[in-house]
């Protein structure tokens, strides 16, 4: 159990992050940039990422500390934390890997992921993916957020989110095509994520603090065209998915 001791910090860190989220985001950006300049971190290339498999049961044993913030069943205890239940296992795995390798930075998670082995990350990912997702809400497709999510805004150059995250946020549902396919399994499911968390993530993409992976680059390109009102509308809509 020694190896999981750092997870104890997650509770405290996660709570702190919830209260000082805005400040942390503001301070994190220059720090991250400075670190990157001193020790350039290679970009996490997810374009050839194979689907991840792990041992859910082993993951359950290793997830005790995680539950402090993300909830015992993967439903977060506070809206500033993401729900992990029912999430894509590959997405969860690459996020842990990004925290560990430095492409993604967070005052709490960076430290928590540092001692994890590759097997640990796979098991944890498999465990949370196996949990039932948060029940769906009542989304208003006619709202501004619904329009952005479902149709985008071609005039502003905003593609519809559902293209990669699925029509109801349960992940992509690609049609058959002979064209080269992206690594669909690395895209997160958004259903039921809190508006506060979604707003934070979109803000991170916009500020450039989450561009360390190829998927991050994609999201940077998308978010660049979103203004604060759009982000608010989208966050609200996704919360109701």
């Amino acid at each position: 159990m020694t190896r999981f001791r750092p997870f104890a910090l997650l509770i405290t860190g996660g709570l702190l992050a919830g209260f000082v989220m805005v400040d942390v985001r503001a301070q994190d950006a220059p720090a991250s940039a400075a670190t990157a300049a001193a020790h350039p971190v290679p970009m996490l290339d997810l374009r050839k990422q194979a689907p991840v498999q792990g041992n859910p049961q082993a993951g359950a044993d290793k997830a005790a500390v995680c539950g402090a913030c993300h909830g015992p069943q993967g439903i977060a205890i506070a809206p500033n934390f993401p729900n992990l239940a029912g999430q894509s296992p590959t997405y969860l795995y690459v996020q842990l890997k990004a925290f560990k390798e430095g492409q993604r930075s967070d005052p709490v998670m960076t430290g928590q992921a540092a001692p994890l082995s590759d097997e640990d990350m796979r098991d944890l990912a498999a465990y949370y993916a196996s949990l039932p997702a948060k029940p769906a809400g009542k989304a208003d497709a006619s709202s501004r957020g619904g329009q952005l999510y479902l149709s985008g805004d071609p005039v502003k150059g905003i593609p519809p989110c559902q293209g990669c995250h699925g029509p109801v946020g349960q992940g992509p549902q690609p049609r058959w095509s002979s064209a080269p396919q992206p690594a669909w399994h690395t895209f997160p499911r958004l259903e039921g994520q809190s508006s506060i968390y979604v707003g934070k993530v979109l803000g991170d993409y916009k500020s450039g603090t989450r561009g360390g992976s190829t998927n991050g680059k994609v999201m940077q390109g998308v978010v660049e065209s979103l203004d604060d009102t759009d982000i608010q509308a989208l966050s609200t809509y996704i919360n109701t998915l």
């Binding site: 050839k48 593609p159 519809p160 992509p172 998927n215 994609v218 390109g221």
Partner: protein, 867 residues
């Protein structure tokens, strides 16, 4: 397209594909305003953007692993890795740029014609490349500039600016050289002007061959060629609620020289005329104006365009002095000393074209397009006098009891000798084009089209001299009638000497009406195969031609398949059959003096216009087959191999004229892009072509039938007295062209290298056969023995090896060292012997032709600064 757009593009496409809801119509980005060049490059870099091509590690997309391929399987190149710098802290504007400046050194046969053909290489400083780009990510505004300069005559600069989806403008300037010869020795003074005069050592109309040969030997070497200077400006933007307008103007100045003729009648077969290879000036301006207005509505789409092109020739004639002494065939004292020749060069031309396009969507996933256009081309220059001579032309046969065939120049060297002072030439065109296509299901579609086009030549000119009441025009500056009695080129219904002269008196206002109907369909079989069938019927009605109607049925079948592994196969076959109405071998009577009142048939009748069994190749019955197979095969993520095989066969149904043509070719290409750091490609292309022609010589002398000048000359038939079977001859042309190339680039980090090799070779052979010696122009035993069965082969080969190394000293500063070694060889029987002398009896040539072989090395060093 910026890097960010490239990154977003796949995502946008992906999202739209997945989305069940249609996106709103985005701005139409078609380039209706474009009048400039599509490609801006030069011999340093034909592509025009190689210096900035530092491929990025991220490839084409953040979404897809490896590189994307075209729908047929070819790899896209790695996109540029541009590092853009903010213009200032907090600014939305970013910029990037490159300056490449250095020195080029040439060694070897640097004046070789083929080396300089389209580039003005010089040893000295050169601006290899300069580009500066500004982008505003927030507003979509951009400014791009790029340029390169090898010399004053070989440079380009282009500026583009605009705002995506809103407006754009472009301005450009470029000089492009075109060298025709680097081995010319004209004997005249005034090269490049409209007046060529002989040097003091020669007497116009009175020099001996030896004097002319000496003047040629003493003439300095000159380059013959021209420079195109193009400038342009274009604008495009939204004018009002979806109405997009564009305006563009460009101007091209062509200045220089070109090898030209200078006839003083024949100087072959004992005729003492004179043949001069002169040099004419090139001083052209062409101004193009393009205006367009378009609207993409919810139902209809509209485009209206105006195109105007205005050609001006600032040197519209060429006067030249001929050194040769003319001598009439009778050996009589030469009363006409003709040594001044004149060409009327290209006239000014105004062109206007108005076009309207309308299209709308229909049911069953259909679309309807209709276009109508009207155009007119007009020339109305002041006409020049028929001749520039003074004194008389012609031959006085009275000393031997014959007629006096002399003509006073004063009746013809003035514009008063013309029936009209200006050309008043005009051709109008009309176009109507309608097309519908439907795709009622994803597996089936069909289309139909009807296109009507008319070219109406309204030009009418009668060659009539009101001063003399005569028709026709003085041929060959008066030299022909001064060598052969009576062949002055004029018809006079009141003068027995000329009332049987059958000469051209009217222009032929060629024109045509063409109606084209097309019906086609395509089917998709499963996910991997599609088949398309298209039938076209072309109904052509030429004016003043041998046929009043020519129609062609054509069917084309195309098959595209991806069912054989990863390969994409595109195969097509088409067959066409051309037929037509009655073939009249001589529809031109009305344009000759034989149609005028007062024409008297010669005692032996008029010679046939041409052999009645000839069918001109654009009108004769023809069966045509074309087949093509293109195979593209991707190996893994990094390799593509593609091959093309094609063949065309045309067979003409005629005894005399073009018999058949055929071409067969194949290409093989290999592309390898294992990573952004390494790319390689190889290419091989081979094509062979053949053409067969059958013809017959007229029997113009006792030793080949003696039909001409006898009553039998009116017989146009093959096998008759004028065109006996014995005078038949056949030509067999064949040509083989081969091209091969190899490229390799590799990025070692701070050092990047590139290597390329290109080979180009061609072999041309003109072979012939003839029924008897009567078919030959020279019918002496020696000439027949020397004739053999063909001309010597023409051969052309060139090899070019390029090597380049780029060093990055710092992130910003670097150096490029590069070299090119080019060799070539050339053999063309047209030029045989001209390297020894350009003077042959009464013929003086100017161009010795391209170098038989050459070898040249180019070395360059460019200092690079990333801006």
């Amino acid at each position: 397209m910026s890097k960010r757009q490239l990154q977003l593009l796949p995502l946008m496409l992906l999202s739209l594909a997945l989305s069940s809801m249609a996106a709103a119509q985005v701005a139409d980005g078609s380039d209706t305003m474009r009048v400039g060049d599509m490609q801006y490059g030069n011999a340093l870099d034909p592509r025009g953007w190689t210096p900035v091509m530092a491929p990025g590690q991220e490839g084409f997309s953040w979404l897809h692993a490896g590189m994307l391929r075209t729908p047929t399987g070819a790899l896209y190149p790695y996109p540029r890795d541009a590092s853009e710098t903010p213009l200032s802290a907090g600014s939305d504007w970013t910029y990037w740029g490159l300056l490449q400046l250095g020195y080029i050194h040439l060694n070897g046969d640097k004046n070789a014609e083929f080396f300089r053909q389209y580039s003005d290489w010089k040893s000295g400083f050169a601006l290899g490349y300069f580009t500066l780009n500004f982008d505003n990510r927030r507003t979509g505004q951009y400014v791009e500039f790029r340029g390169s300069r090898i010399s004053d005559n070989d440079q380009y600069y282009r500026l583009r600016a605009g705002k995506y989806g809103s407006y754009k403008l472009e301005a450009f300037y470029r000089d492009m050289p075109h060298t025709v010869s680097t081995n010319a020795y004209p004997i005249w003074n005034g090269i490049g002007s409209t007046n060529l005069t002989l040097p003091a050592s020669l007497t116009p109309g009175g020099s001996t061959p030896a004097q002319i040969a000496a003047a040629s030997a003493a003439a300095p070497r000159r380059n013959i060629g021209l420079t195109r200077t193009r400038t342009g400006l274009s604008l495009e933007g939204e004018l009002y609620r979806g109405w997009v307008g564009s305006a563009a103007i460009s101007n091209e100045e062509r200045k220089g020289t070109r090898l030209w003729g200078g006839p003083m009648f024949f100087a072959f077969g004992g005729l003492a005329g004179g043949v001069n290879e002169t040099v004419r000036p090139i001083d052209f301006s062409t101004t193009d104006i393009n205006l367009s207005l378009r609207k993409v509505g919810k139902v209809w789409r509209f485009v209206g365009t105006y195109n105007g092109s205005f050609f001006r020739n600032h040197k519209d004639h060429l006067d030249y002095q001929s050194p040769f002494q003319l001598q009439n065939v009778l050996g009589l004292p030469q009363v006409a000393n003709i040594y001044q020749g004149e060409y009327s060069l290209e006239p000014n031309n105004d062109y206007h074209n108005l076009r309207l396009d309308l299209s709308r969507e229909l049911k069953w996933n259909g679309q309807f397009n209709v276009a109508a256009a009207w155009g007119t081309m007009r020339q109305n220059d002041a006409l020049r006098p028929p001749v520039t001579c003074s004194g008389v032309i012609g031959i006085d046969m009275t000393p031997i009891g014959g007629p006096n065939y002399t003509v006073p120049c004063g009746n013809w060297n003035t514009t008063a000798a013309l029936s009209q002072k200006n050309a008043n030439a005009r051709i109008d065109t009309g176009l109507f084009d309608a097309r519908v296509n439907f795709h009622p299901s994803t597996n089936f579609g069909w289309h139909a089209g009807l296109r009507w086009y008319k070219e109406d030549n309204k030009t009418r000119y009668l060659a009539y001299n009101p001063l003399t009441g005569q028709y026709g025009y003085i041929s060959e500056n008066g030299s022909q009638g001064s060598i052969v009695p009576g062949e002055t080129g004029i018809f006079d219904p009141r003068n027995p000497l000329y009332w049987s002269s059958n000469v051209t008196v009217r222009n032929v206002p060629y024109g045509y009406t063409d109606t084209l109907f097309e019906l086609g369909s395509d089917w998709q079989f499963g996910r991997h195969d599609s088949l398309g069938v298209t039938y076209t019927f072309d109904y052509n009605e030429p004016k003043y031609r041998e046929r009043k109607r020519v129609d062609e049925h054509r069917i084309k079948i195309a098959w595209v398949s991806r069912s054989l592994g990863d390969a994409t196969i595109r195969a097509s076959y088409e067959y066409a059959q051309r037929r037509g109405g009655h073939y009249n071998y001589d529809p031109y009577t009305q344009f000759f003096s034989e149609s005028l009142p007062g024409f008297v048939d010669p005692a032996t009748g008029l010679p046939a216009h041409t052999v009645a069994d000839m069918r001109k190749y654009d009108l004769s019955d023809r069966n045509e087959s074309k087949a093509r197979v293109i195979v593209t095969y991707p190996f893994g993520d990094a390799t593509t191999v593609s091959a093309t095989f094609y063949g065309n066969r045309d067979n003409y149904s005629t005894l005399i004229g073009r018999q058949n043509t055929q071409s067969t070719g194949s290409t093989l290409q290999w592309d390898w892009q294992p990573s952004p750091r390494t790319t390689a490609s190889a290419y091989l292309g081979i094509e062979t072509s053949r053409m067969g022609i059958a013809n017959v010589g007229d029997s113009d002398a006792a030793d080949n039938g003696a039909g001409l000048g006898t009553p039998g000359q009116t017989n146009p038939n093959l096998g008759g007295p004028l065109y006996p079977y014995a005078n038949q001859w056949w030509e067999f042309d064949r040509e083989r062209n081969t091209n091969a190339g190899f490229t390799l680039t590799h990025d070692f980090g701070r050092v990047r290298t590139d290597l390329s090799y290109n080979y180009s070779g061609s072999l041309g052979h003109v072979g012939y056969n003839y029924a008897t010696i009567g078919a030959l122009a020279y019918r002496g035993p020696g000439a027949a023995a020397a004739a053999g069965d063909g001309f010597p082969d023409n051969k052309y080969r060139s090899n070019t090896l390029d090597l380049g190394i780029n060093f990055d000293f710092t992130r910003r500063f670097g150096m490029r060292l590069f070299g090119r070694h080019e060799t070539g060889s050339f053999t063309d029987w047209h030029y045989l012997g001209l390297d020894q002398t350009l003077s042959y009896g009464s013929r003086i040539y100017t161009d010795k032709g391209p170098q038989r072989s050459y070898s040249v090395t180019l070395l360059g060093a460019m200092f690079n600064v990333k801006l």
